[in-house]
């Protein structure tokens, strides 16, 4: 195996794994902040219980997200040193700013949130959680600024074979950044909403659930958040597609599996399979007009196919293969958009069938099952979304400027890469298994566990280490 292939494998493995937990914690963090706010406003204990219960699950995902995040920053230097040298003048700045502006805030205020339950007023306490949510969104903004430069370089010049920054504000004004940011944050919101909905649904399916009202209320909040998020994610995704047609036509054509130029109006392919080596579509089902609408918002206009784009790119950038992995992109896109649509429908119908007048949903097991199984869909949609974005940039790391092959660390051996891949794989497996078992355990314990424990603790006169009275 080549070092490039191993390096790419590692990047895919570590970022995908990391990105299971990123939208998970941003999204559930937001829901927890909402729940705690409701507590502060209504003073009802059930919201406090919700905050603590879902907060614990949020903390688990946050912990795994943090530790897997450090790998990312190191990875550029370790595996992609040539890339780091080429683009460091631009790419490093948002990373450093992310740490300074977002990570410090996130970790410090999360520490405050976890340990000051009994020390500060509820209002101040909920403020900590909102600051954490704000900080995680800020961190997304900065890291996406770096990613957007790779997708669509702006504000640079090339000097002595390196990209040099000429305008920091251009980095932030990059339209790609704002599409990605909107889409990613909205996706995180759906993720949070759906996870809480889905896990609540699983709990309601249990025969002996002791506190169904708790989960019904949680589910309601989850559904509202998911509805809001899925409308936003679809809107942002639609805008992103229209930008892609112009900025990265190859990626766009590949997600549509379009080798030959489309007719006018362009029809959209529902499902298809490509022969990637032969650069041909093997079969497909098409729906007339729709692709024109998706690309240009009107029922006319043709879309360029990959064959034509490839020729153009060869002319512009030199002779190499510009075809990305078509089937992967095509199907990834359909999984993402398909699940997006599904989540929108599910949250709409879910809200409809849980309205006060007719709570059909709680009585229909199969409905609860659908909601429960939806827990997994945002993870798949997030992963496939990134596959589209990143694989679709092939063969570039920085679009039009630097290729994947040029980017790898020349001094890193196959053996080193095999070792690091193995180490990460084992760590991830162990941590993932523990994480899942702990979420299940938390669900089994249920929301009333802490209360019971608190009483027991009081009886045992055990001291909360940060309780006010504990300090002298």
């Amino acid at each position: 195996m080549s070092i490039v292939a191993l390096g790419r494998f590692q990047f895919a493995m570590t970022t995908i794994y990391h990105y299971f937990f990123v939208p998970f914690s941003i999204g559930t963090g937001l829901v927890v902040a909402i729940m705690e706010t409701m507590y502060v406003i209504t003073k009802k204990d059930e919201y406090l219980k919700m905050t603590k219960f879902w907060g614990n699950i949020f903390l688990l995902s946050f912990a795994v997200g943090v530790v897997t995040g450090i790998i990312q920053e190191f990875q550029f230097g370790m595996n992609w040193s040539a890339y780091s040298r080429f683009v460091g003048d631009i790419f490093g700045a948002p990373l450093a700013v992310e740490a300074l502006l977002a990570f410090f805030m996130e970790s410090t205020f999360l520490g405050l949130w976890i340990f000051t339950w009994k020390m500060v007023s509820p209002k101040l306490h909920v403020t900590f959680m909102w600051i954490v949510t704000l900080a995680s969104s800020l961190s997304a903004l900065w890291i996406l600024a770096a990613n957007s430069f790779m997708q669509h370089p702006t504000g640079y010049t090339i000097k002595n074979g390196h990209a040099v920054m000429t305008s920091f504000s251009a980095l932030l004004k990059n339209p790609q950044l704002w599409y990605e940011f909107g889409h990613v944050i909205a996706a995180a919101i759906v993720t949070g909403g759906i996870i809480i909905t889905g896990l609540s649904a699983f709990q309601l399916l249990k025969k002996k659930e002791g506190n169904p009202d708790f989960y019904k209320k949680s589910m309601h909040i989850g559904l509202l958040v998911a509805l809001f998020g899925s409308i936003a994610v679809l809107t942002a995704g639609d805008l992103q597609m229209k930008a892609l047609v112009k900025e990265q036509p190859m990626k766009f054509a590949a997600t549509e599996g379009l080798y030959k130029n489309s007719g006018d109006p362009a029809s959209w392919t529902l499902v298809a399979w490509a022969n990637e080596n032969g650069h041909k579509r093997v079969w497909g089902i098409e729906v007339p007009y729709v692709l024109s609408i998706l690309a240009y918002d009107e029922p006319s206009g043709s879309v360029k196919g990959m064959n034509a784009i490839n020729k153009q790119l060869v002319k512009e950038y030199g002779n190499r293969n510009y075809y990305p992995p078509v089937n992967t992109l095509f199907w990834s896109f359909r999984i993402m958009a398909g699940f997006g649509t599904l989540m929108l429908l599910v949250s709409l119908l879910g809200l409809f069938f849980t309205r006060k007048k007719n709570q059909l949903l709680y009585r229909q097991k199969w409905m609860l099952w659908i909601l429960g199984l939806c827990t997994f869909t945002p993870f798949l949609a997030n992963t496939t979304g990134w596959l589209v974005t990143e694989l679709g940039r092939y063969p570039w790391t920085v679009y039009g400027l630097f290729t994947i092959k040029q980017s790898i660390s020349p001094n890193v051996s196959v053996a080193s890469l095999l070792i690091s891949n193995t180490v990460y794989f084992l760590l991830f497996t162990g941590i993932g298994a523990t994480m899942i078992s702990l979420v299940v355990r938390e669900l089994k314990k249920g929301p009333d566990y802490e209360e019971k424990l608190d009483e027991e603790e009081k009886r045992a006169a055990k001291i909360d280490p940060f309780d006010k009275e504990a300090f002298e």
Partner: protein, 338 residues
């Protein structure tokens, strides 16, 4: 060399100092979980002393890494690709210890011990390999004309670098003990001090070995005689201060002195390297210099503005957090089981 290049060279040193000063005691506390405590309550007690802050302390490393990437991309690229397996160990250590905090809190009682161990071992691995990395770096590494480093086992692991690694572990452990003494009540507080008293004796031997090896294995005395000597002496003086303070039970002084030892160590490394950032053992022609491995003036300027604007804010709320959690964590006696 421009003023901005120098500023960022210093700022990188400051960020690493901050990291070792703060995360140093987290590592020490982590190691102490399995080596200093007598029961589960004590483990929980000392973990609680760092609970609210360890994650923030780790951000110093992430910021240092990001700042290195942004202000010295060539240094970052050479260092990180060259120290591949060492950094992998550091990452593995950071990962297992990072999740241990959350997992040990949530797992069933019988599995808690496992995550106590991962916490301790992870906390030991990280400072050890940082020591190995920084010390072998100042010994000089095989860096070629393109700035690529292709080192062999002996370049990474040799007498001096291992002494450096052990010294780093010992310093972190002592710093952690001093922190525990400062932040707890009960038997653990006294035990931490007793351990520290004993270990300071060993640290002296380590410091002498360190200074001697530095003389033979690096060009620091040749290049920067005065600063090298002063900083080495400063490290010894700080150790004496900490040692005396621990005898006199002046807990704050002890803690500040052991933290300052890290700062002196980082200062020693950075001044000794100056004006280089990586030393090539193949030829001094291939050394990476401050002047040829930094970012463009524009990027450095942007970064400087950002740092000037936001660093005070960050320091303010971090300081406030330490103030909020200023009190000692109480000792919880082991209860008779029902």
């Amino acid at each position: 060399m421009s003023g901005l290049q120098l500023l960022w060279f210093i700022l990188i040193a400051v960020l690493f100092s901050g990291f070792f000063f703060l995360e140093g005691f987290d590592f020490g506390v982590g190691m102490a979980v399995q080596s200093l405590t007598h029961n589960e309550n004590e483990k929980d007690q000392i973990v609680a002393t760092i609970g609210p802050v360890w994650d923030g302390n780790e951000v110093w490393l992430i910021t240092a890494g990001g700042a290195l990437f942004a202000s010295y991309p060539f240094w970052y690229a050479t260092l990180f690709s060259g120290y591949y397996l060492i950094l992998l160990m550091i990452l593995a250590g950071l990962i297992v210890r990072g999740v241990s905090f959350e997992f040990r809190k949530n797992v069933p009682a019988k599995r808690k011990q496992f995550w106590n161990w991962t916490l301790s071992i992870g906390s030991l691995i990280v400072p050890f390999f940082f020591g190995v990395m920084f010390i072998s770096m100042i010994e000089g590494m095989p860096i070629d004309a393109d700035g690529n480093m292709s080192a062999t086992f002996g370049d990474y692991i040799n007498l001096f670098s291992v002494v450096g690694g052990v010294a780093m572990v010992l310093l972190s452990y002592l710093h952690g003990l001093n922190y525990i003494a400062l932040k707890t009540t009960g038997p653990i507080r006294d035990r931490a001090k007793n351990y520290a008293k004993f270990l300071y004796g060993i640290l002296y031997i380590g410091l002498v070995a360190f200074a001697v090896l530095m003389y033979f294995e690096t060009d620091f005395f040749k290049m920067h005689f005065a600063t090298t000597l002063i900083l080495l002496v400063l490290m010894v003086v700080l150790t004496v201060i900490a040692n005396v303070a621990v005898m006199k039970a002046a807990e704050i002084t002890t803690f500040v002195a052991s933290g300052a030892t890290f700062v002196a160590l980082v200062a020693l490394i950075f001044t000794g390297m100056f004006p280089r950032v990586m030393i090539s053992s193949i030829s001094s022609k291939y050394d990476l210099l401050i002047t040829n491995s930094s970012s463009s003036p524009y990027t450095l300027k942007i970064m400087s503005y950002t740092a000037i604007m936001f660093l005070p804010l960050v320091l303010a709320y971090i300081g406030w957090t330490y103030y909020v959690f200023r009190r000692r964590v109480k000792h919880a006696p082991v209860l008779e089981t029902k």
